[in-house]
C-alpha cells in the first residue's frame, strides 16, 4: 500500500463525564480521501469522539493530530478547516435558510459570499425557499441544510454526526453520491451512522462500543474477520422456527426478515450440526450465505459486553 497522508491520527483518546467513561483510549487513523464510517450503539461515544476531534471537548488523556494540527493546542486552526455537522440540528431556527448560510459564510470570512451562498442554495434545491425560516423546514430538509452549511467553506475534513438520520432514500442516495464525489476530490469524510447500507458505502469502518474501539477495517475485511457463519433459511412459519432456534446455543443470532430467517454463530461446525435436522424438512429451504454487516456489528457489541462483565 502506498504512503497515504493521515488526516486524523489520534492515540489513547479518553474522555470521562464524572464517573462515566465516554471514550476509552481510542486510537484512530483516517487517511486522506477516506470515507470513514463510524458505527456503534447509542451512547457508545461516537458524538463524544467527534467533538474531541474538533476541539469542542477537551480530552482527559491522549494526543493526536487532525489535519496536521495538534488537537489539544491548535483546535482554533483545526476549526477553520473542518466542517462539523452536529447530530442535533444546531443552526438558527429563527433565521431564514439564506440568512443561516450568509452567517456561516461571514464567520469564515468568505470573499465571494453572495455567489457561494447562491450556489449552495441551488445545489440544495432550496433557492425558491431561501426566505423561509429554517425552523419551518421538515426534519430531513433541516439535515440537508445543515450539511450544505457545514460544507460551505470548503473544508478539507468533514465530520458528520448521523447526517442522514430521518432523510428519505432518494436524498440519502444523493447525499452519498455527493460524499463519494468529494472523496474523489481528496476531501476526507468521517461519518457516523446507524444505517447498514451506508456503512457498506464507506471504504473503512470503525465500530465503537462502551467507548472502546472494538473493530476496524474495510466492510469486507470486517465481515471476513468476524468469524461468523450465517445461514439463510426460508420457511412458511418463520416465527415458529425462530422460537425453536433461539434455544439452540450455537445459533447466537436469529433474525427473521419476512419469510427468511438469518441464523449466525461463531462456531460454524456446531451451527451446521444444529441446523442439519431442519435441512431434512421439505417446508424448509436453507443455504449458507456471507454474514451481513449488521450481524457482524451485533456480534462485536455482544463480545465487548462479555469482556466488560
Amino acid at each position: 500500500m502506498n504512503q497515504r497522508e493521515a488526516i486524523i491520527e489520534v492515540k489513547g483518546l479518553s474522555k470521562s463525564f464524572g464517573d462515566k467513561v465516554a471514550v476509552d483510549k481510542v486510537n484512530l487513523t483516517v487517511y486522506k480521501g477516506d470515507i470513514f464510517g463510524f458505527l456503534g450503539p447509542n451512547g457508545s461515544g461516537k458524538t463524544t469522539t467527534i467533538r474531541l476531534l474538533c476541539g469542542l471537548l477537551t480530552a482527559d488523556d491522549g494526543e493526536g493530530k487532525c489535519l496536521g494540527y495538534d488537537i489539544r493546542k491548535e483546535s482554533r486552526t483545526i476549526k477553520r478547516q473542518v466542517g462539523y455537522m452536529t447530530q442535533r440540528f444546531s443552526f438558527y431556527e429563527d433565521l431564514t435558510i439564506r440568512e443561516n448560510l450568509d452567517f456561516v459564510a461571514r464567520v469564515y470570512n468568505m470573499k465571494n459570499r453572495r455567489q457561494v451562498v447562491d450556489e449552495a442554495l441551488v445545489q440544495l434545491g432550496l433557492e425558491h425557499r431561501q426566505n423561509q425560516l429554517a425552523g419551518d423546514l421538515s426534519g430531513g430538509w433541516k439535515q440537508r441544510l445543515a450539511l450544505a452549511a457545514c460544507m460551505l467553506h470548503q473544508p478539507k475534513l468533514l465530520l458528520l454526526d448521523e447526517p442522514t438520520a430521518g432523510v428519505d432514500p432518494q436524498a440519502r442516495r444523493d447525499f452519498w453520491d455527493e460524499i463519494h464525489r468529494l472523496s474523489g476530490l481528496g476531501i476526507t469524510v468521517l461519518v457516523s451512522t446507524h444505517y447498514m447500507d451506508e456503512a457498506e458505502r464507506c471504504n473503512r469502518l470503525a465500530y465503537i462500543a462502551y467507548g472502546s474501539l472494538v473493530g476496524e477495517g474495510s466492510p469486507k475485511s470486517l465481515v471476513d474477520d468476524s468469524g461468523l457463519t450465517t445461514w439463510m433459511i426460508d420457511s412458511e412459519d418463520v416465527h415458529q422456527l425462530a422460537d425453536e432456534l433461539r434455544d439452540v446455543s450455537a445459533a447466537q443470532q436469529v433474525v427473521p426478515f419476512g419469510n427468511t430467517l438469518y441464523v449466525s454463530g461463531t462456531d460454524s461446525k456446531a451451527l451446521e450440526q444444529a441446523l442439519a435436522s431442519y435441512d431434512q424438512r421439505d417446508d424448509i429451504h436453507m443455504e449458507r450465505t456471507t454474514p451481513r454487516l449488521e450481524d457482524v456489528f451485533i456480534r462485536l457489541m455482544h463480545s465487548s459486553e462479555e469482556k466488560r462483565w
Binding site: 469542542l56 476549526k79 462539523y84 452536529t86 440540528f89 444546531s90 443552526f91 431556527e93 464567520v107 469564515y108
Partner: protein, 378 residues
C-alpha cells in the same frame, strides 16, 4: 365520559414538581435568599430619614457665636462637617459634585451685626435634587435658629434668646428650588429602566444558544469569545438609545425636567452606562446554565440596584456597609451623573467623577465574563 378527579394523579404531579424543584438548586436558593435580602435591605439598610449629611462650612469669621451655631446644627444629628473652606468656587464645586449636601455660609461681620441686634443672616445652600434627602434636615434648621444662642445671648441681648429673631438662616434650595420630586425621579427612572431591560435582554443571549443547541455549532466555527460577546451586546446599544430618547422626550415635554448640561456629554455618559449593564447581562449569561437561571440572576442584580443606588431611598440614609455595596453598582453612579448633568448642569470634569467608576466596573465584569465563557462543551 366524565373523567373524575383522581388524588393519585394529583399526587403524581405534586411529587414530580417537588423532585424538579429540588434539582433546581438556584430557584431553591432564591426562594430563601430573596426574602432574606429584602428583609436586610428594607429592615436595616433603608432609612428615609438620612442623618449626618455632609456639609461644607464657608466661614468669614470664627467667634463664640458662630461656633455655637455650627455646634447646634451638628447637634441636630442631620449635619456633619466634612470640609472647611473660604473659597466660594470650591464650595460650589463640592455641592455640584455631590461631595456635600449643604454649604453653610457665614458672612463677614456676622458677629458684629448680631451683637448690635441687626438680625444678620446666614446662608444655608442645600443640594435639593433629591427633596426627600434634605427635607428633614431643613426642617430641623428652624429649631436651631431659636435655640442655638440660648446661652450666649446675655445682658441686653438676653431678650432675643429663645426667639427666632436674633439671626436668620436663609435656606437656598439649589438645583430644584421648588422641591419637585419628578426632577429627581424621572432622570433616575431612565437609569432604572436601562438597568432592567439591558441586563435582562443580554442575560438570555448566551444561555439561549446553549439551550437551543446552537452553541455547539457556534463553538465549532472559528469565532472568538470577545467577538461573540461584543457582537451580542452591540444591537442592544441601539435599543438602549431608543429607550433613552423616549424617556428624555417625556422628561422634557411631559415632566418639564430642566436639562442644563451638554447633550453630547449626556449621550456619552449614557453609552458608558448602557455598556456597563450589557456586560453584566452577558456575564450573567455566560455563568447561568439556562434561561430561567439567567432571569433569576438578573433579578438578583436588579433588586439591590433599585434599593441601594439612591433611586428609591436617599443614598446617604443608608449605613456604611450598604453605601459600600451601593457604590459598586453602576446605577448609583449613573444616578449621580444624570442628575448632576440635567439638574446642575455639570461639565465634563464634574461628570467624570461618576463615569470612571462605571468604566472600571465594566472592565472587571467583562473580564469575569470572558473567563467564564465556555469555549468548549465540557
Amino acid at each position: 365520559m366524565v373523567i373524575s378527579f383522581s388524588p393519585r394523579r394529583l399526587w403524581a404531579i405534586v411529587l414530580k414538581e417537588f423532585v424538579q424543584l429540588r434539582r433546581d438548586r438556584l430557584t431553591f436558593a432564591m426562594m430563601i435568599g430573596i426574602p432574606l435580602i429584602q428583609l436586610t435591605l428594607f429592615g436595616f439598610a433603608i432609612n428615609s430619614d438620612p442623618k449626618k449629611l455632609p456639609m461644607a462650612v464657608r466661614s468669614a469669621e470664627s467667634t463664640t457665636y458662630t461656633r455655637s451655631i455650627v455646634q447646634a446644627l451638628i447637634h441636630t444629628g442631620y449635619f456633619n462637617i466634612v470640609s472647611l473652606t473660604s473659597s466660594e468656587r470650591e464650595a460650589n464645586n463640592l455641592l455640584a459634585e455631590g461631595a456635600v449636601q449643604f454649604v453653610l455660609n457665614i458672612p463677614p461681620h456676622f458677629t458684629r451685626q448680631l451683637l448690635r441686634g441687626e438680625q444678620p443672616s446666614l446662608l444655608l445652600q442645600a443640594d435639593a435634587t433629591d427633596p426627600a434627602a434634605t427635607s428633614n434636615a431643613l426642617a430641623a434648621v428652624k429649631e436651631v435658629q431659636k435655640t442655638a444662642l440660648r446661652h450666649d445671648l446675655t445682658g441686653e441681648l438676653a431678650k432675643l434668646a429663645g426667639t427666632d429673631t436674633a439671626f436668620q438662616i436663609n435656606i437656598h434650595r439649589r438645583y430644584n428650588p421648588e422641591g419637585i420630586t419628578q426632577y429627581n425621579i424621572v432622570p433616575g427612572l431612565m437609569g432604572v429602566i436601562l438597568t432592567m431591560t439591558m441586563i435582562m435582554m443580554t442575560a438570555l443571549a448566551i444561555t439561549r444558544e446553549h439551550e437551543r443547541g446552537t452553541m455547539e455549532n457556534l463553538l465549532a466555527m472559528p469565532v472568538r469569545p470577545l467577538e461573540v460577546m461584543i457582537g451580542k451586546i452591540a444591537p442592544y446599544i441601539v435599543i438602549g438609545y431608543v429607550q433613552v430618547a423616549v424617556i428624555l422626550s417625556a422628561a422634557k415635554w411631559v415632566f418639564m425636567v430642566p436639562m442644563l448640561g451638554s447633550g453630547l456629554l449626556l449621550l456619552g455618559g449614557v453609552l458608558v452606562f448602557i455598556i456597563a449593564n450589557l456586560t453584566v447581562g452577558i456575564t450573567l449569561s455566560s455563568v447561568a446554565r439556562n434561561q430561567a437561571q439567567a432571569m433569576q440572576m438578573s433579578f438578583f442584580f436588579f433588586l439591590p440596584s433599585i434599593l441601594l443606588s439612591g433611586f428609591m431611598f436617599p443614598f446617604r440614609g443608608m449605613p456604611e456597609w450598604a453605601q459600600i455595596l451601593g457604590s459598586i453598582l453602576p446605577l448609583t453612579h449613573f444616578l449621580r451623573f444624570i442628575r448632576g448633568l440635567l439638574l446642575k448642569g455639570n461639565d465634563f470634569t464634574l461628570a467624570w467623577e461618576h463615569l470612571w467608576p462605571l468604566l472600571i466596573f465594566t472592565l472587571v465584569v467583562m473580564s469575569v465574563g470572558l473567563r467564564r465563557y465556555r469555549q468548549t462543551l465540557d
